[in-house]
């Protein structure tokens, strides 16, 4: 129908599948995010470290290059510690990316009262959260486990079948450690933005939770002479789980199991906060 005609007619065509409609939100939210030049540049910068790691893997398997540098091959061994360092750097970048992109996903909808328009359609709150979180999920996946697994496969192709078979668990650790990070960062960013409804404040709050949490934990440990303060330090909890996943020796104040449970509790708490706020109308009691 020509758009210049002022007319209205009901729609009788086919409808899209209901289970895939959350992807509509994903598509529009992602498009809005990448309108920011800063985010685009930062996203590209996030691939510099994986490229550097790739170069390191190449060097480790280039005997002639090592000989020129006068290095022994043991000095540049590619093992679980290498991948943990890779993940640690990418984890920091993922956090910064979340702090920039996460709060802008939900807060504009809440600030402008747009939620009733979503939920008066055949579209649930769970689908809304899924659609919005999938933006961060895919964005963070692109800079964490996807390049990690690619590096692992390249290393495997250089090192041969024996190394690959012996270290296959590293690939699993890469994926699992990334998923933990993605889950906690996404939920935390969205829950905070849903509560403060202001993008900049939500970003600042996310930084505060991560950094001041560590300070708060240290203060509790010092004052109460305990190690329980670490449960308030998300970075410490994630690091504890990661070192456990990558089988790196560490002297942690809390066990990996406790850290897993604490992270799970944080995730559930964020989800609860999120679902309390993501409603068509908030009932003021």
């Amino acid at each position: 129908m020509a758009v210049y005609r002022r007319s209205y007619k009901p729609y009788s065509g086919t409808l899209t599948a209901e289970r895939s409609r959350f992807l509509v939100l994903f598509r529009y939210s992602r498009r809005n995010l990448f309108r920011s030049k800063f985010l685009t540049v930062f996203f590209v910068l996030c691939f510099f470290w994986p490229i550097a790691c790739l170069a390191w893997i190449y060097v480790a398997h280039s005997a002639s290059f090592l000989a020129k540098l006068g290095l022994r091959s043991e000095f540049v061994s590619i093992d679980n510690k290498f991948f943990l360092i890779f993940m640690s750097v990418q984890g920091v970048l993922a956090f910064l990316l979340t702090a920039f992109a996460g709060p802008g996903l939900i807060s504009p909808d809440l600030a402008n009262g747009a939620l009733p328009l979503y939920f008066c359609r055949p579209f649930s709150r769970a689908e809304y959260v899924l659609g919005k979180s999938s933006v961060l999920g895919i964005l963070l996946s692109q800079i964490t486990w996807v390049p990690g697994v690619i590096l692992f496969l390249i290393q495997a192709s250089f090192a041969g079948a024996t190394w690959t078979w012996d270290n296959l668990w590293i690939a699993g650790s890469l994926i699992l450690s990334s998923l933990i990070l993605i889950a906690i960062l996404s939920l935390l960013a969205m829950a905070l933005s849903a509560w403060v409804k202001w993008r900049i404040v939500a970003g600042a709050l996310l930084l505060a939770v991560m950094f001041f949490g560590a300070g708060f934990a240290q203060a509790i440990n010092a004052v109460l002479r305990t190690d329980s303060g670490h449960f308030f330090d998300l970075v410490y909890l994630i690091a504890t789980v990661w070192t456990n996943l990558f089988l790196v020796d560490n002297d942690r104040a809390i066990s990996a199991g406790q850290a897993w449970i604490a992270i799970l509790v944080y995730c559930l708490f964020c989800l609860w906060l999120l679902l309390r706020k993501v409603r068509a109308y908030e009932v003021v009691r």
């Binding site: 007319s7 007619k9 009901p10 402008n112 939620l115 009733p116 328009l117 008066c120």
Partner: protein, 325 residues
């Protein structure tokens, strides 16, 4: 307390029928109770509405918006049930939402999106394929009169334009029922007139049924054929305006000169009820009596009738009576 009323009939069976289904009422409420905290906002509403355009009237806080939000599944009733097009809000809310277009009372948009993208997104969320949604977004914006401004960001729109944009997103997916919550709020007189004209057009096009929630009597009177008046979460009154208009055609107001008691007595002998004050007379015509009989008696009595009006209760009268009851 429960207020019960079996209300209004649809204009015709076909108008009240969804394709392939038997005739159903537009909205059926059965003891619907909604509570926030320890306060009952809706108290056992029971009604059956079938009009083409239904007005929800009531003072602020009467429960109009709560009723709409409950029908859309935003609030869970603590007792009773409600049906929209025969579908229960407890079990079929997703299907009900697919039939409904809704414009909320307050600002509801994403300020950094332009109107076309926003309405396209809303269309896609309702299940339209992307290309169709884009086409219909343009169509809806042309329809509501925002064609020239459709590529502007919604945050730059005036209040009237935002109301129209909300209307456009509500109709983009071709709903069967359009729910408008205070659509003329904050509009200047010309913008209000334009909105009312558009609602009338939508009603008369017969593609959609309309539920208009407002505290402005004039808006409801101009657009609706059925009115449900709420007060303190209860149904204070139901009125079928069309029937009301017909029924009140028997109510006359006269300005008369030269009358004495004989004229009144002669009229009353015909079975009419009269009330006289100075040279004004109000009467309810008896069955089978019309204005010609009154003129004939006036001629016999040499009474001059200077003015004769058929007066019906305005919606304001109905509303005030409902509020007093």
């Amino acid at each position: 307390m429960s207020t019960t009323s079996q209300l209004g009939a649809p204009a015709s069976a076909s108008e009240n029928t969804l394709a392939g289904t038997p005739p159903v009422r537009l909205i059926e409420l059965n003891g619907l109770t909604v509570r926030f905290g320890d306060r009952d906002i809706l108290r056992g509403l029971t009604a059956s509405l079938g009009g083409r355009a239904i007005g929800l009237l009531g003072p602020n806080g009467a429960g109009k918006s709560t009723l709409i939000n409950t029908l859309l599944g935003f609030y869970k009733p603590v007792a009773g049930s409600a049906k929209v097009f025969g579908h229960d809000i407890h079990t079929d809310i997703r299907f009900i939402r697919s039939l409904v277009g809704y414009t909320p009372e307050n600002d509801a948009f994403i300020s950094k999106m332009n109107a076309v993208s926003f309405i396209q997104m809303m269309g896609e969320l309702s299940g339209l394929p992307s290309k169709v949604a884009l086409e219909r977004a343009h169509e809806a914006l042309f329809y509501v009169g925002l064609a020239e401004a459709r590529y502007r960001k919604l945050g730059t729109y005036s209040l009237g334009m935002k109301q129209l944009a909300k209307l456009a997103q509500a109709i983009v997916h071709g709903p069967k029922l359009l729910i408008l919550d205070e659509p003329t709020n904050g509009l200047d007189p010309s913008a209000r007139q334009r909105m009312i004209r558009m609602i009338r057009e939508i009603r008369d096009a017969k593609e959609m049924r309309v539920v208009l929630c407002s505290h402005l009597l004039r808006d409801v009177e101009d657009t609706c054929d059925e009115v449900l008046i709420l007060k303190n979460g209860q149904i204070a009154h139901y009125s079928n305006l069309d029937e009301e208009r017909r029924a009140n055609k028997r109510f006359l107001e006269l300005e008369i000169y030269g009358a004495n008691g004989d004229f009144t007595a002669a009229v009353e002998r015909l079975g009419c009820e009269c009330a006289v004050s100075a040279n004004r007379m109000k009467m309810v015509l008896a069955e089978g009596i019309d204005s010609r009989d009154i003129f004939r008696i006036a001629a016999d009595q040499q009474v001059r009738i200077r003015r004769m009006n058929f007066r019906r209760d305005s919606l304001e009268d109905i509303f005030l009576k409902a509020m007093e009851s």
